[in-house]
């Protein structure tokens, strides 16, 4: 019999009962909640007179609507405030652990789960948010769900699911110096497309992935959803264990040893077969910059904006033209000639300590270019912010002219006050460059933290490898 993939192992370990027709009732170990997709689920629970099935599985935090400036006076926008107050009230009523806005541990839901050790290998992790794929970096089966499913998980600790297909993306060899996890993620999406992972759980493997820190692995799995995948996965190894040891929600003592023994099995068997395999040469990956309105519209920094005239398929050509018009770009413009207005370093993709260090290393001793109207650094959590301050990173950013903000989703989606004005162009470390994503009419270019920092100093995109 053929071996099992990591995904097969995780799936098999969580089947409560087979429902037939390819569906199964799957047990949920960890449920993360935030303020935007949970209020209706709590209301449903209340109306039906139900209680959360297992309180300890849940962890909540407000992140999408929170202000990133001084919070001592509360939230100015009454509608955002109401959504956050609802989360506070719901968690208090049902007894769910919540990191409130004034808690040092507050931050973006996908940052704080792993940071607290609330995300563990072998778990199923769900959240009413598509970027839940991030947690797959720990060898956990993690995916986003809708509001009815949030209620379903609260009430039953399970979900009705159909099994996905197995896909493996192997990033072979070592990346060149200056190439980060974000560049790997964007290069993969550029190669397989935003529907490349549809219906699949993608396992990322290969030397370049094994060499990544947990921060880097989270960046890669975070972006799996932009490749259309149901989930991203990376096998457990010593890096995983070293990251988790001693975290507040992780097991300790004898339980830790027992857990580690089980977690070491969380890898695909050597003879496991995948429905789809993609191999990418790490050496060939250059710093990536998106030019369009979909993450697959991405090129290396030394390339040019594509020319729709070269596209033979009429439908695709029209898509390229529409994207260029929205982005205000001319075909064949060198990427390094694109000047920017704003810089955003943050989001669940790139707001961890390693990301802030990488950006600070580029910025150190330099200043923002005169054409930069605003540059934000938004740490992913209060603890990351505190650590960065202990390392003096905030001073490097502040001296260069960046703003040093409180943790939250911020300009990743502009649901709070941080957003682009129409026509503004932004170098952003976030994950989606859809029309209007960072503010109506705003133009987003996705890059790594180091590339965003270099663009902030130069005023336009530059190859960070020349810069250092």
């Amino acid at each position: 019999m053929a071996g099992k993939t990591l995904y097969d192992k995780l799936w098999d370990a969580h089947v409560v009962t087979d429902l037939g027709g390819g569906s199964a009732l799957i047990y949920v170990d960890r449920h993360l909640l935030h303020e935007v997709t949970s209020p209706q689920a709590f209301e449903g629970l209340r109306l039906a007179g139900r209680k959360p099935w297992r309180l300890a599985a849940n962890l909540a935090v407000a992140d999408h609507n929170v202000p990133t400036t001084d919070r001592s006076r509360g939230i100015a926008d009454p509608i955002s405030r109401a959504q956050i107050e609802a989360l506070d009230a719901n968690c208090a009523e049902f007894g769910i652990t919540e990191f409130r806005m004034d808690d040092a541990r507050q931050g973006i839901v996908h940052v704080i789960g792993p940071e607290q050790g609330a995300t563990l290998p072998g778990m199923t992790v769900v959240c009413g948010d598509s970027h839940t794929s991030t947690h797959g970096a720990f060898g956990a089966l993690a995916f986003g769900i809708g509001t009815s499913e949030v209620e379903h998980v609260l009430a039953t600790q399970t979900l009705v699911q159909k099994k996905a297909k197995n896909m493996r993306v192997t990033v072979q060899g070592e990346v060149a110096p200056g190439i980060t996890a974000k560049d790997i993620a964007l290069a993969v999406i550029g190669r397989i497309g935003t529907a490349g992972g549809t219906g699949c759980a993608i396992e990322f493997a290969g030397e370049a992935i094994e060499r990544l820190s947990m921060e880097g692995r989270m960046t890669v799995c975070n972006m799996a959803i932009e490749a259309g995948a149901r989930a991203g996965l990376i096998a457990v190894d010593q890096t995983t264990l070293d990251y988790l040891r001693g975290r507040p929600f992780a097991p300790h003592g004898a339980l830790w040893e027992k857990a580690v023994a089980a977690w070491r099995e969380l890898r695909s068997d050597a003879d496991a077969s995948f429905d789809r395999e993609v191999v990418i040469e790490a050496r060939a990956i250059k710093p990536q910059v998106t030019w369009g309105t979909s993450p697959e519209m991405v090129v290396p920094v030394d390339a040019r904006v594509p020319d729709p005239a070269a596209e033979t398929d009429a439908v695709k050509r029209a898509g390229l033209q529409r994207a260029l018009a929205y982005m205000g770009l001319a075909a064949n413009t060198p990427i390094v000639d694109i000047a920017i207005d704003k810089v955003f370093i943050g989001s669940c993709t790139n707001s961890r300590i390693e990301d802030l260090r990488a950006a600070a290393a580029v910025v150190r001793g330099r200043r923002l270019a005169p054409n930069i109207k605003q540059a934000l650094v938004v740490p992913g959590s209060g603890l990351i912010k505190r650590q960065a301050e202990a390392e003096g990173l905030h001073r490097i950013f502040l001296e260069a002219g960046f703003e040093w903000r409180e943790p939250g989703c911020s300009m990743c989606l502009g649901m709070n006050a941080d957003r682009l004005a129409p026509g503004e162009r932004c170098a952003s470390t976030s994950n989606r460059n859809f029309e209007g994503r960072q503010g109506a009419g705003g133009r987003t270019h996705l890059v790594s933290p180091a590339m965003a920092a270099a663009a902030a100093v130069a005023g336009h995109f530059v190859d960070v490898r020349d810069f250092q």
């Binding site: 009732l25 297992r54 609802a86 600790q157």
Partner: protein, 211 residues
């Protein structure tokens, strides 16, 4: 969930194809913390002449007199007619919530987008797909006769028209059972409560470090 057996109701004909979920409920309303109360914002951009938001009282806004739901003869309709690919676009469940909250119990269309179709069943709204010719006839009759009503008989899987015509429709047995009995997916899953508890007991043995 409210059971759906036999529903007789007034019909509103929305003679458009590709009605997307953005059109059904625009994005500014997703900041609401409720599952209810979206009815006044259903088809917001078509229904009103001025822009709206969560904190704008719909009663102060200017209704578009040309929009079908604003015509007095369709007031109180509980069955919506539409053309192909109804509910395409984003996955927002708010679209289904808005239709239900407005008072619709069923949407009869030529075809539906996948996610909207699934979301409907989770919320007791019955989506019925009928052939192009049948839809043409229903649209013509609804537009011709004031007070036109249809009967949707879910147990019999039939739509009955006032002229005596009956139209059969398809629905999978599992979903039909849920709707007729008013079972939500949660209620059904809770029938497996013992299996869930047995799983948890095993899990405590094999993975005692889990929360």
């Amino acid at each position: 969930m409210r059971p759906f057996t036999v529903v007789t109701g007034k019909v509103a004909p929305l003679d458009r194809a590709n009605v997307d979920t953005d059109a059904i409920i625009p994005k500014q309303y997703l900041k609401s913390i409720k599952r209810t109360g979206f009815g006044p914002f259903l088809f917001d951009d078509w229904r009103y002449l001025d822009p709206g938001d969560l904190d704008v009282d719909p009663a102060t806004r200017r209704p578009n007199p040309d929009f079908v739901l604003n015509q007095p003869r369709y007031a109180g309709a509980t069955i919506l007619l539409a053309r192909e690919n109804f509910g395409c676009g984003s996955s927002r469940e708010h679209a289904v919530w808005a239709l239900s909250d407005y008072g619709f119990r069923a949407v009869i269309a030529t075809s539906f987008a996948d996610i909207f179709f699934n979301n409907s069943f989770k919320n007791g709204l019955l989506p019925i797909a009928l052939g192009r010719d049948v839809m043409d006839r229903l649209f013509a009759q609804a537009q011709a006769c004031e007070g036109y009503a249809l009967t949707v008989d879910l147990p019999a899987q039939r739509v009955r028209a006032p002229d005596g015509a009956e139209y059969a429709f398809e629905i999978d047995a599992f979903r039909k059972d849920c709707l007729v009995k008013g079972l939500d997916e949660i209620g059904l899953t809770l029938k497996h409560a013992d299996a869930i508890r047995a799983y948890e007991a095993r899990r405590r043995e094999t993975a005692p470090w889990l929360p």
